[in-house]
């Protein structure tokens, strides 16, 4: 970030690793509330919608960490969202994690990837989070 040449990561110029996952949608009460309180074009709604919960093993495979932007592409569309690491016991499937499955709140960010359960490729991305306007092309 400081411009120091030693901090440049040369692996950025190589092909970024990607992982094939199944997208499963879920409902989030706080996201529903944000849509009602602030509208679906709001930053509050975007912050709770443009999210994918990934298993720590999948994050590692795509060389990404919690909070990184990731590109998710299916045969129907592409979206850039924030990756979140599964919280232990809360998001993980009993005892075994959920490698190969990514959870996204039901919204335009997940719906662009197709009807459920959609198969998609996920990889770390330097792009900014997709906006509603970009996704519905208005």
């Amino acid at each position: 970030m400081s411009g120091n040449i030693s901090e440049i990561r040369f692996d950025r110029f190589l092909a970024v690793p990607e992982r094939e996952i199944t997208i499963v949608r879920y409902h989030d009460i706080f996201q529903t509330e944000a849509a009602l309180k602030h509208g679906k074009f709001s930053k509050e709604y975007q912050d709770l919608s443009a999210v994918i919960v990934l298993d720590p093993a999948d994050l590692k495979k795509i060389d990404a960490s919690d909070g990184d932007h990731v590109k998710i592409s299916s045969e129907y569309g592409t979206v850039v969202a924030v990756a979140k690491k599964s919280e232990e016991k809360k998001d993980v499937r009993a005892n075994e994690g959920h490698s190969g499955v990514g959870y996204m709140p039901a919204s335009v960010w997940s719906n662009i990837l197709g009807s459920k359960p959609a198969s998609a490729k996920v990889s770390r991305s330097q792009q900014k989070i997709s906006t509603v306007g970009e996704l519905i092309r208005v």
């Binding site: 009460i29 309180k37 679906k40 809360k90 959870y103 335009v108 719906n111």
Partner: protein, 384 residues
């Protein structure tokens, strides 16, 4: 007063001095929601009368009109919508994965019950592809799990067993006594395994057969079992598989099914405009391809189907709130919200008719009052 934030239609809501009492987080935000949009034609703000006139002209000229939604409208608006559809030869699609299950319930192909019956009698409660803690927040405390009921005096601690079956360990799953995780796309295999287990056969399956057998044992012992069917079940499993499972469960015990959808009056429109698609209705570019004019009433098409703005049909939006579809619609007509500033009736998720008094008392007249979707529908009926 009644909350129309979801299909539970809670009737104990009190609103005083801008403060909402008894409602959940969703209900409070819904009742106080003022995310309204201006009337528009071709994305330019216009007078509401101009917007209605323009919509009428588009509908009158349409050769293949299609109406989408109506699940968030009062029953009276739905009836006017059905009349309008008949007059201009439009199809109506409630756009919900739950429509086929509602159809099966209405035609007695599966057994159902009311929510008070769940509270009074249910001892085994399955949340299948459903996470009511995030979608119907007062279901567990009002009916499904926590309350004591006539034949369930000991409430959840002793008298009820809650089970979650889902592709994800949801918040609702976290309070259930047992959780069965479905592999995405392999829902029917789980049902097949469970049906074998109900007949005391050890299923050969990708799922843990011992756990499936244990689940079957619990279900068979149920005195009054209920499946709350969320979109994760009805959106992933063909309707005949659900009927088969319900028939099988009822060979051994008394099992009912209740659809858990969010639109507060979907049950009414789904009954009025029965959908023929198996697995329920959800719009796809292909299914909308034939239409030349789409009328979205209380339904955000572009949120469900982001490609909708590219569809080669004119789009009319009638909605109490701002929607993504309004961002690319040819005509936008804002309206009052049922149960908030519009009185009427609705049908709760269990088929019970509920009165919806207007919370804000503005009704349809007075300064700043919003016009109702019923008035809009009636004006369209006169104009086309």
């Amino acid at each position: 007063m009644t909350c129309t934030g979801c299909a539970l239609l809670c009737e104990d809501i009190d609103v005083r001095d801008g403060e909402v009492r008894h409602a959940c987080r969703i209900g409070t935000a819904h009742i106080l929601n003022r995310q309204q949009i201006d009337p528009m034609v071709d994305q330019e703000v216009v007078d509401i009368d101009d917007a209605i006139r323009h919509a009428a002209a588009l509908l009158a000229d349409a050769e293949r009109p299609m109406f989408l939604g109506f699940g968030n409208s009062i029953t009276e608006t739905q009836a006017a919508g059905v009349r309008l559809a008949e007059k201009i030869g439009a199809g109506i699609d409630p756009c919900s994965v739950h429509t086929s299950l509602i159809d099966d319930i209405v035609h007695s192909r599966v057994r159902t019950c009311t929510l008070p019956e769940v509270r009074d009698q249910a001892d085994v409660i399955l949340f299948w592809g459903a996470d009511p803690m995030n979608t119907h927040p007062r279901l567990m405390s009002g009916y499904a799990y926590y309350p004591r009921g006539k034949n369930r005096q000991h409430g959840w601690e002793e008298d009820r067993t809650a089970i979650a079956i889902d592709v994800r360990r949801s918040h609702t799953a976290s309070i259930c006594k047992s959780v069965h995780e479905i592999i995405p796309g392999r829902d029917v295999e789980f049902i097949d395994a469970l049906m074998l287990a109900l007949r005391n056969k050890v299923p050969k399956t990708v799922y843990d057969s011992k756990r499936v057998l244990k689940l079957a044992g619990t279900l068979k012992k149920a005195e009054f079992g209920v499946i709350f069917a969320g979109s994760g079940l009805v959106g992933s499993v063909p309707r005949d598989a659900i009927i088969r499972l319900m028939d099988e469960l009822n060979e051994f015990s008394d099992f009912r099914i209740l659809p858990l959808f969010s639109q507060y009056n979907l049950r009414s429109i789904a009954t009025a405009a029965a959908c023929e698609h198996s697995g329920g209705c959800t719009p796809t570019p292909a299914s909308l391809h034939d239409a030349d004019c789409l009328l979205c009433v209380g339904f955000d098409l572009a949120s469900s189907l982001p490609q909708a703005c590219d569809i080669d049909a004119s789009i009319i939006v009638i909605d109490p709130s701002e929607t993504l579809t309004a961002g690319c619609a040819d005509v936008v007509i804002p309206c009052a919200a049922g149960g908030v500033d519009l009185a009427g009736t609705a049908v709760r998720m269990d088929g019970t008719k509920i009165d919806l008094p207007s919370i804000t008392k503005t009704g349809q007249t007075g300064a700043g009052a919003r016009i109702s979707d019923l008035s809009i529908m009636n004006r369209l009926l006169e104009a086309v």
